[in-house]
Amino acid sequence: MPKMNLSHLEASLLFAVLCSVVLGIVTKKTDRERISYGLYCFGCFLAALFGLGWLMYFGHG
């Protein structure tokens, strides 16, 4: 099996995409709601990713 070396950002983005798709599929009833909820979840993942990233950057000093 080939080895995959992803950076923090790449791994987090990959997980965010996959998780957003699954959350969109299993939580809503119509396709339109699923797509918008999936995009909303992805936005939340990005906000948390960059927000916590900057927080750790400033917290580290």
Binding site: M1, P2, K3, M4, N5, L6, H8, A11, L14, F15, L18, C19, V21, V22, L23, I25, V26, K29
Partner: protein, 132 residues
């Protein structure tokens, strides 16, 4: 929490199939697009975890923290169904080593299982009529 409309004999086989093959429960209920999306999302997450050489958990007990991490991680891994079983049967054995890539791999392996748990809950709700 209200009782399900259908008996355990009706929902258990479908939920068990959804555990064994991610997306198969939705496929059985004729939700083919959703089944395919779930299958590929969980498969990609699991394969990414393997390619990052993530470690698989085995249940360990001791203090509370150890028990929660190792037993919870094992349940998360086990929720991957056939992917986990095949990985074990084919002899995958990766020690838990330091490094962010291995660490992400371990989380991807557990994360894929947790996604399958969400899919199983969705299948259960569809079979019992709680969700249309």
């Amino acid at each position: 929490m209200s009782k399900p409309n259908v008996g355990i004999a009706q929902w258990l086989p479908v939920v068990a199939l959804a555990w064994l093959v991610p997306g198969a429960g939705h496929f059985l209920l004729k939700r083919t697009t959703r089944a395919a999306l779930l299958f590929f999302c969980i498969l990609i997450c699991f394969l990414a975890g393997l390619m990052m050489r993530g470690a698989l958990f085995s249940p360990q007990t001791g203090d509370l923290f150890t028990t929660v991490i190792y037993c919870g991680g094992f349940i998360g891994n086990l929720a991957n169904g056939i992917f986990y079983l095949l990985t074990i049967w084919l002899g995958y054995s990766q020690p838990d080593v330091a490094g962010h890539v291995h660490d992400y791999g371990t989380k991807f392996l557990v994360g894929a299982g947790l996604m399958n748990v969400l899919a199983m809950v969705d299948v259960y709700e569809l079979v019992t009529g709680r969700k249309t």
